[in-house]
């Protein structure tokens, strides 16, 4: 039943799996879904696991169930007949199997046909549109693939909700997602024993206890914690605009990775000069010199940027694109200072490597090992950052 809807979702790149589809079938078979509205929400709850795909789901839903609006309008005429609910009846197994075979289009055609034939109100029975029966149409009835008509007030219909496409803003269509980046960043760790002695050293305890003639001697040790400190410097200049989402994902992955001993984040515009910034709007500055003096050289430095700028922005005094920065020291010198101060630095470039022939990119690539900001590139970069020097 509805198998085409499954493929329709797949076509829209909603990541649905057979497991979830079977769950939906289970819910349908048990009769938990009695009308299209419920189907819309329940199928979404079961099949779609992120609000980012709600919009894709809406599109697929519209596509598959288009034309369902018609009976929703006919509903109004029959509403009059169907005022009081009648207790639902249960179906035998074979009856259910019979109805399972019908698909939505058939149901719809059938509905319109019967509506034309029918001339009076009808309760019970297995064919006419009415109340409490086993016909797939009507209300309070029991039909797994049935269309609900009227009954209690239901507000808007599913297809209208789907048409609204309220979740368009939640779409992401991502190449790299936060979880993948986080997994890659997990590689950034060096476990050292630090902190309070809160872990039982079993080996030593046994030894000490034996020496003590069986009198228990507990030996504690410091637990292993990640000693990696991270410094993330991100370019938020105009040419980075197309990669804003990717960079914000990298940021949120690094920011929420709790396993670093310390992590610091700063922004710059095109190139690094006298100041770095705490915020993207670059209101709150901190002097680069101050950072170099206060941060130990063992911070792992990740610079993110396209490294593309006018050559004078990199090479000249007062070359900063922002006139008021009035940098006495050319950007390249600042970059060199960073590369010299910290033992492990890499540069992540969101652009594809075939554009890396641009002069400033090549110059910067000489200072910092440059990697593409993809899953593979990130993996290689992480490896580079943990090698012993």
């Amino acid at each position: 039943m509805f198998t085409d809807f499954f493929y329709s979702l797949k076509k829209r790149r909603v990541p649905v799996s057979i497991t979830e589809w079977m769950t939906l079938m289970e819910a349908l078979a048990k009769g938990y879904i009695s009308n299209l509205d419920e189907f819309y929400y329940l199928a979404r709850a079961i099949l779609v696991k992120s609000e980012a795909y709600y919009d894709h789901y809406d599109v697929a839903f519209q596509e598959y169930f288009k034309g369902i609006e018609a009976p929703a309008e006919i509903t109004e005429q029959i509403l009059e007949w169907l005022k009081d609910p009648i207790n639902r009846m249960t179906l035998t197994e074979e009856e259910r199997a019979l109805f399972d075979k019908m698909d939505f289009d058939e149901l719809l055609k059938e509905f319109e046909k019967r509506l034309e034939e029918q001339t009076e109100q009808h309760d019970g029975g297995g064919h006419w549109i009415g109340r409490g029966g086993t016909s797939p149409f009507g209300h309070s009835g029991y039909h797994p693939a049935g269309i609900r008509i009227g009954g209690q007030s239901r507000g808007r219909h599913a297809i209208q909700i789907a048409q609204e496409r309220r979740f368009q803003n939640y779409r992401s269509d991502l190449t790299l997602d936060v979880r993948q980046i986080k997994m890659a960043l997990r590689g950034l760790r060096q476990l050292n024993r630090i902190g309070p002695e809160d872990e039982l050293d079993l080996e030593k305890t046994i030894k000490a206890t034996s020496k003590n003639a069986g009198e228990i001697e507990l030996i504690w040790t410091r637990s292993r914690k990640n000693a990696v400190k991270l410094l993330l410097l991100m370019d938020v200049g105009g040419s980075m605009e197309p990669f804003a989402l990717l960079c914000s994902q990298l940021f949120s992955a690094a920011h929420s990775s709790s396993h670093f001993k310390d992590s610091q984040f700063f922004y710059f515009h095109n190139c690094i000069y006298d100041d770095l910034y705490h915020d993207i709007e670059r209101n709150e500055a901190i002097s680069t010199d101050h950072l170099l003096r206060t941060l130990e050289p063992d911070y792992k430095v990740v610079l993110v940027g396209d490294a593309r700028m006018a050559p004078y922005e990199l090479m000249e005094r007062y070359g900063a694109i922002n006139y008021y920065e009035r940098n006495d020291t050319p950007g390249i010198i600042w970059l060199k200072r960073i590369a010299d101060h910290f033992t492990h630095c890499i540069w992540l470039n969101p652009e594809v490597p075939r554009f890396w022939i641009y002069p400033t990119v090549r110059l910067i690539g000489k200072l910092f090992p440059m990697f593409e900001l993809t899953l593979d590139g990130l993996g290689q970069a992480v490896k580079k950052l943990v090698v012993k020097k």
Binding site: R44, I46, G155
Partner: protein
């Protein structure tokens, strides 16, 4: 529909739900699968579990997840140190390992003779592998304790509610086993209903003015943290306690600190949208 055990959860008097959310909860109860709730902070994800527990008259077990939480802790803890310590004095029978096995929250929920509501709160806070470590246990609703050669399996599958703040953090295998619902930010009508649950005798004028101001604040995209339901409730409380005239609500936004909790947001708002007149700040006309 009650005949087949569906439609159990109908909300509780102090918690306003939407129909899709109720349906998601009910289908998760009926199919015995955890329901994963996501949504903006302050949309009542955690309260949902409390409401289910109250609505169905069941006990609630809350497992608050922290960054250091391990999956194992939810199942059971084998207190070896205590056992080792007891062995020195011989006042307890240390060969009975059972007394050193302490069930965690998940273990308690499985072992309970009655059906419970289990809330696994903020699952994304934990280590990234955490959800994967719980896959089997949540699927089968049972786990094995090698120390005592016992299997704890759920007598009644607990109604499991899992909440998460972050997007795209949970592994696919975990997601496949859950029913998912995203709590949208309530629209003004639903919000009015929610507010009235908290303040049954709030004045209409005050509420209308406050909601209008609140929703226009939410339209400003530059905030790091947009004000949410819980901030609105706090603000309304402050407005009512302060006895602010209705017309001042939108022109001055008194007690704006209760709505904008981040200093940067507050400063940004004051600089961009307000003018100082005498000792007061008022909203700049645009």
């Amino acid at each position: 529909m009650n005949s087949n055990g569906f439609d159990q959860f109908k909300g509780s008097p102090d918690y306003v739900t939407s129909e899709p959310l109720r349906n998601a909860v009910n289908v998760s109860i009926a199919l015995g699968r955890p329901v994963l709730i996501r949504g903006e902070p302050g949309t009542g994800k955690t309260l949902l579990a409390h409401s289910i527990a109250r609505g169905l008259g069941k006990k609630l077990i809350t497992w608050n997840i922290k960054s250091t939480t391990k999956a194992q802790e939810g199942l059971y803890i084998y207190d070896t140190v205590q056992r080792l310590n007891d062995s020195r004095f011989g006042d307890k029978d240390v060969s009975d390992i059972k007394q050193y096995i302490k069930l965690g929250k998940l273990g308690q929920a499985f072992a309970s003779p009655e059906q419970l509501v289990l809330l696994i709160d903020e699952v994304d806070k934990a280590d990234i592998e955490f959800p994967n470590d719980l896959l089997n246990e949540l699927d089968e609703m049972s786990f094995y304790i090698p120390e005592t050669n016992e299997t704890i399996s759920a007598i009644h599958r607990p109604i499991t509610v899992i909440t998460s703040n972050a997007e795209k953090e949970l592994p696919d295998a975990f997601l496949r086993r859950c029913i998912f619902h995203y709590i949208e930010f309530p629209d003004p009508e639903l919000m009015e209903e929610i507010v009235r649950v908290h303040f049954p005798d709030i004045k209409d004028n005050l509420l209308r003015e406050a909601l209008r101001t609140f929703y226009s604040l939410r339209e400003i995209d530059e905030f790091r943290k947009k004000p949410s339901t819980s901030e609105l409730i706090d603000w309304l409380q402050a407005l009512m306690a302060g006895g602010v005239a209705d017309e001042k609500i939108s022109s001055e936004i008194p007690f704006i600190g209760t709505l904008l909790k981040k200093e940067t947001d507050y400063n940004h708002f004051v600089n961009a949208y307000m003018t100082r007149i005498g000792d007061n700040y008022i909203i700049r006309r645009r």
